[in-house]
C-alpha cells in the first residue's frame, strides 16, 4: 500500500466514526511484517503474540498523536522493536545466575518449538544468530530476512548507517564462524 494510503488511513482514524474500521485496516496491513520481526527477536510464538498485541494497543493509544514526522511503517516498526526488546529485558531480569542466559533459554525454546519447521541447517543458522549480541542480532535479522535498506533501519533503530553496516558485517563474520564449527 502506497504512502498516500497511509495518509488516508490516518485521516480515517482521526474521525471518531471510522476510527475502528481504519485501525482494523492498519492491523491487517502491517500485522504480518511486524509479527515476523518480533518473532525473530523473542523466538516463541506465544511471546511474539503477546508482544504484537501490546504493540498494537500502544499504536491505538498513540496514533492520534502521531504527527507523521516519519512514515507510519517506520513508526510501527519502532514501537514493535521497543516492545520486543522490553520483553527480553524483563525476561533477562528473571535470571539472577549469569550462567543461564536469555540466549540459552531462547535456544532451548527454539529446539522445543512446535512452530519451528526448519531443517537441521536452518536450526544451526538460528542458533548462530542467537549467539550474537542483541543489537547485532537485530540488525542481522532486519537486513538478512526482512531485506530492509540501511536508511530505513537507521530511522527505526535511531542509529547511523555506518554503525549499522559495521554491526551487520560483524554479525555475518560471527555467523560464518559458528556455521563452520562442528
Amino acid at each position: 500500500m502506497a504512502k498516500n494510503n497511509d495518509k488516508e488511513l490516518l485521516s480515517l482514524f482521526r474521525d471518531e466514526n471510522t476510527r475502528h474500521h481504519a485501525f482494523n485496516i492498519i492491523i491487517r496491513k502491517y500485522q504480518e511484517r511486524l509479527y515476523w520481526h518480533v518473532r525473530r527477536i523473542v523466538i516463541s510464538h506465544d511471546d511474539a503474540d503477546d508482544v504484537i498485541q501490546n504493540t498494537f494497543i500502544r499504536v491505538w493509544n498513540g496514533l492520534e498523536e502521531f504527527r507523521e514526522a516519519s512514515q507510519l511503517y517506520t513508526w510501527l516498526h519502532r514501537i514493535a522493536t521497543n516492545e520486543a526488546l522490553s520483553f527480553l529485558k524483563q525476561y533477562r531480569k528473571k535470571f539472577i545466575i549469569p550462567i543461564v542466559t536469555v540466549e540459552n533459554k531462547l535456544i532451548n525454546r527454539l529446539e522445543s518449538d512446535s512452530f519451528f519447521n526448519g531443517d537441521e541447517i536452518q536450526l544451526k543458522l538460528q542458533k548462530a544468530i542467537l549467539s550474537l549480541p542483541e543489537k547485532q542480532r537485530l540488525v542481522f535479522n532486519m537486513k538478512y530476512f526482512d531485506e530492509m535498506k540501511y536508511e530505513e533501519m537507521a530511522k527505526i533503530l535511531n542509529t547511523s548507517i555506518g554503525a549499522l553496516k559495521a554491526s551487520y558485517h560483524h554479525a555475518v563474520k560471527k555467523i560464518e564462524k559458528k556455521l563452520g564449527e562442528g
Binding site: 475502528h20 485501525f23 482494523n24 492491523i27 491487517r28 500485522q31 504480518e32 509479527y35 515476523w36 518473532r39 525473530r40 510464538h45 503474540d49 504484537i52 498485541q53 498494537f56 494497543i57 491505538w60 518449538d113 512452530f115 519451528f116 519447521n117 526448519g118 531443517d119 541447517i121 536452518q122 536450526l123 543458522l125 538460528q126 538478512y144 530476512f145 551487520y168 558485517h169 555475518v172 563474520k173 555467523i175 560464518e176 556455521l179 563452520g180
Partner: protein, 148 residues
C-alpha cells in the same frame, strides 16, 4: 546479500526461508483479538468525573500547601525536641565545670547568674544531711560558716 557473500560463503549457501510458522488462521483472528483487547482496556479505564477534572488543579495546590505546612511543623518539632533532649544532671554539670575550670571566666559566670536571676545557693542554709556528713568526717562546720 552480495556484501555477505564475500565474507560468508557458508551463509550464502543456505536457502533463505522463514523457518517459523504460526497456528492456523492466526493472522485472520489477530485483528479481532486486538480490537477486543482495546475494548477491554477502554472499559477498565477509570472514568474521571467532570467535577474531579475541574477541581484537580485546586486540589493539587491545597495538597502542596498542606505538605509544606507539615514539613515546616516537623522541622520545627525536630529542632526543638533536639534542644530539649539535652538535659544534664547536676553531677554532669559539676564534672564539666571542673574539667573546664581553667577556661571559665568566673566573673563573667557570676555576672550571667545575676542576669538570669538564678537562685543562688544559700551557704548558710546547710541541710541536716550536710551537717551529718561534716560531723562524721570530723569537720568543724561552725568554723566553715564563720569563714563564709
Amino acid at each position: 546479500m552480495n556484501e555477505s557473500s564475500n565474507i560468508s560463503p557458508r551463509l550464502t549457501k543456505i536457502k533463505k526461508v522463514n523457518p517459523y510458522s504460526v497456528p492456523e488462521n492466526y493472522f485472520d483472528e489477530l485483528p479481532g483479538r486486538i480490537q477486543e483487547a482495546i475494548h477491554v482496556q477502554k472499559e477498565t479505564e477509570p472514568v474521571k468525573p467532570f467535577t474531579f477534572r475541574f477541581i484537580r488543579p485546586q486540589l493539587a495546590i491545597a495538597a502542596s500547601i498542606i505538605i509544606f505546612a507539615m514539613l515546616g511543623y516537623l522541622g520545627y518539632k525536630s529542632i526543638y525536641s533536639y534542644k530539649s533532649s539535652i538535659e544534664l544532671t547536676s553531677g554532669e554539670i559539676a564534672e564539666y565545670v571542673e574539667y573546664y575550670s581553667s577556661e571559665i571566666d568566673e566573673d563573667l559566670f557570676i555576672e550571667l547568674l545575676d542576669e538570669n536571676k538564678l537562685p543562688k545557693a544559700n551557704f548558710f542554709d546547710l541541710s541536716d544531711e550536710i551537717i551529718t556528713y561534716l560531723v562524721d568526717e570530723n569537720i568543724d562546720y561552725q568554723s566553715i560558716i564563720e569563714l563564709l
